[in-house]
Symmetry: C2
Subunit: 459 residues, 2 copies
Amino acid sequence: MKGTPLSSPSAAAAARITALDTYDIRFPTSRELDGSDAMNPDPDYSAAYLVLRTDAGDGLEGHGFTFTIGRGNDVQVAAIEALRPYLVGRSVAEVCADPGSVYRDLNGDSQLRWLGPEKGVMHMAVGAVVNAVWDLAAKRAGLPLWRFLAEAEPEWLVSQVDFRYIADALTPEQALGLLQRGRDGAARRTAELTATGYPAYTTSPGWLGYSDEKLVRLATKALDDGFRQIKLKVGADLADDVRRCRTARATIGPDVRMAIDANQRWNVDEAVAWTNALAEFDPYWIEEPTSPDDVLGHAAIRARVAPIRVATGEHVQNRVVFKQLLQAGAIDVLQLDSTRVGGVNENLAILLLAAAFGIPVCPHAGGVGLCELVRHLSMFDYVALSGSTEGRAIEFADHLHEHFVDPAVIRDGHYVAPTLPGFSAALRPEAIDTFRYPDGVFWAEDLAQGQIETAEVPA
Amino acid sequence: MKGTPLSSPSAAAAARITALDTYDIRFPTSRELDGSDAMNPDPDYSAAYLVLRTDAGDGLEGHGFTFTIGRGNDVQVAAIEALRPYLVGRSVAEVCADPGSVYRDLNGDSQLRWLGPEKGVMHMAVGAVVNAVWDLAAKRAGLPLWRFLAEAEPEWLVSQVDFRYIADALTPEQALGLLQRGRDGAARRTAELTATGYPAYTTSPGWLGYSDEKLVRLATKALDDGFRQIKLKVGADLADDVRRCRTARATIGPDVRMAIDANQRWNVDEAVAWTNALAEFDPYWIEEPTSPDDVLGHAAIRARVAPIRVATGEHVQNRVVFKQLLQAGAIDVLQLDSTRVGGVNENLAILLLAAAFGIPVCPHAGGVGLCELVRHLSMFDYVALSGSTEGRAIEFADHLHEHFVDPAVIRDGHYVAPTLPGFSAALRPEAIDTFRYPDGVFWAEDLAQGQIETAEVPA
């Protein structure tokens, strides 16, 4: 290729990924107690963020990130940086034609695999990079990711899934059958989504750090905004939870759904006792009652709190654990997350598993950019796989959307279908300039003040 | 404390941790195919290594590490560095009196927890730091860790365990009962260990990259060295595995145990078919037949390959997954690892769970320093908990021991009981100087040569 001018058609075909740039982005959310729950009292919502750049000359970039809640975001950035050599130099056309090749190469690298395997920091880094590839691929196709996926050939989608460790529950042939079935009525569902959007529920009223007055005010606002489900954080103090659930139920009435979320606070017996103590307030589901690793624990809890549904997923590490949650009959609601697992490819596997077992997917969102990303996955699910929004809704929390180029928009309790090409992962440049840690405008000022305060503490 | 001279008794009591220094250590093992298996063809055995330093003036340090296999060791180091602020400044006496306080603080930190929870890079970093605290505590007590643990009060040991997420399988009261029972005959067992050591088995003959001639030679040597069990890597090619198992069995005869290890290569059905295809060679166990995350998969495999035992653990992320492997009847042999989980505290929980379910523990070792560490855990298990070596042996691979201050020593197929105070984690200073990446003597030379070679590749 030496000497080929970049402006020629063959140069466009030969375009390479030239850079994987990383950014440690942190928003000071802990100062308002936004996002406080029984396990996470003081999160600073953060993103370990990356941009793939190319020499294609078309102005397109691939953006991706891992959501974290503050300290350790630098470790997550280091893990993403460790993946740079696997991306830089690769053909843009090839990786966009087959994002699964990147996913398989990164997950299959034996040395990186040792650091998981397929879990934790290194796996989330893989997911961030894989999602950036999908963002770039959808942009090159000129489609929002949900349509890019929904309009793809079923055979190609199946080729994007790693069936290792899940083939005992879902074979490639079964996956293909589910996707072929999903083609019936797909055009109608795409039009529906474009017209009315996808149902949302809101967690905004229910953070533990909020006063009862704020809970009532925000729950009332949620109804006014058209939401038909809210969620309350529970698990720190039972008497408080009884009072807050009673208050919330009195505010929203009997017909609006009220989910509760313990954020992994309990052992099995505690989960059963605490959940049943709140049963009189008709919770729609109990979310993360215990460790996300405890498949058998969730199954035991589910048997003992029925008819209250059991939901989990935002911390479930990969498709192998989701497979078992489904096999064991441990959950009623599957809450995938857009940045916890190995990117779109692994979330395709998880959506297919959920469809195979007939379990509704209600994704985790909130944080930084999770609402922006995950709406694409649910909309693909509706158009091309589940064909239904019955018992389904995407979480919504009204934080930090203003920092995104293509922010999540809610209308009458529904996520509006995104229309811009890509996966909506891009932060606005001014957000990066302000909240890059530790040298963005906000943090530089804040840390300078902190240093003054620290210096004033007597030795 | 201001102005208190460091040499006074009160200063000794007031000693603080003053530094957490990290080192990226990599050994070029891939050049000899040591450690090659079906999933890990080219490992460079590595350690993300740390030293806790204090101002106690007694010359004692706490050493700890995470074992990795090369690339990404820098990410693991970054994760350990993220824990520095939690250690530096703490009272040496307090953390050594209660290493569980460090374990709980690190695991309980909500922002770091988000990066797992309790799994992967961040969890292994916690384990490395916690193990360094135990190393320091045992050194201050003047005892090798196995004796430090075995001589501790049962109530105190129970206080070192986090029962969150395992209390449905093991309560603190049950744990106390197991430890109290273990006191009977403890002095006799300590004397036995000191005299004859703890049974070992060897993986040295069985790496996939070795020729059949080397397999025969090393298996013969294993018998000469007194080992009564060897292990072969399998899973890359069935015809090769049949030939290698036949060769090994012919070499060692019918009475020596031959375990086989697939390093997570298979799906459930593949694992069953492949293992049963090797049944004629009487494998003692099949190790890591599938994903370490797949509790239900292991249970299914075990039911279909009996009477061949199922073993796993070196990649099992934490006590919650071990709990389920035991609850589901998924394993016959539990293979804990000294640096995969949250340090000695979590391994105490795992040993207690194994004892409660009556499943023998045969730890994973090899790599860098895993033999050095894990012998302490098995010897504690024998003296104070299981009271038996029946069906138990610690893995041994004869690599890299020369780099340790207190290396593992094998005599007549047994690990000799260590006598130096501490957890035996310390690398020799010259090993650090040579193999620190990228600036140690070996790597600086190697990378300089590599740069020359790279420069010679045509653009």
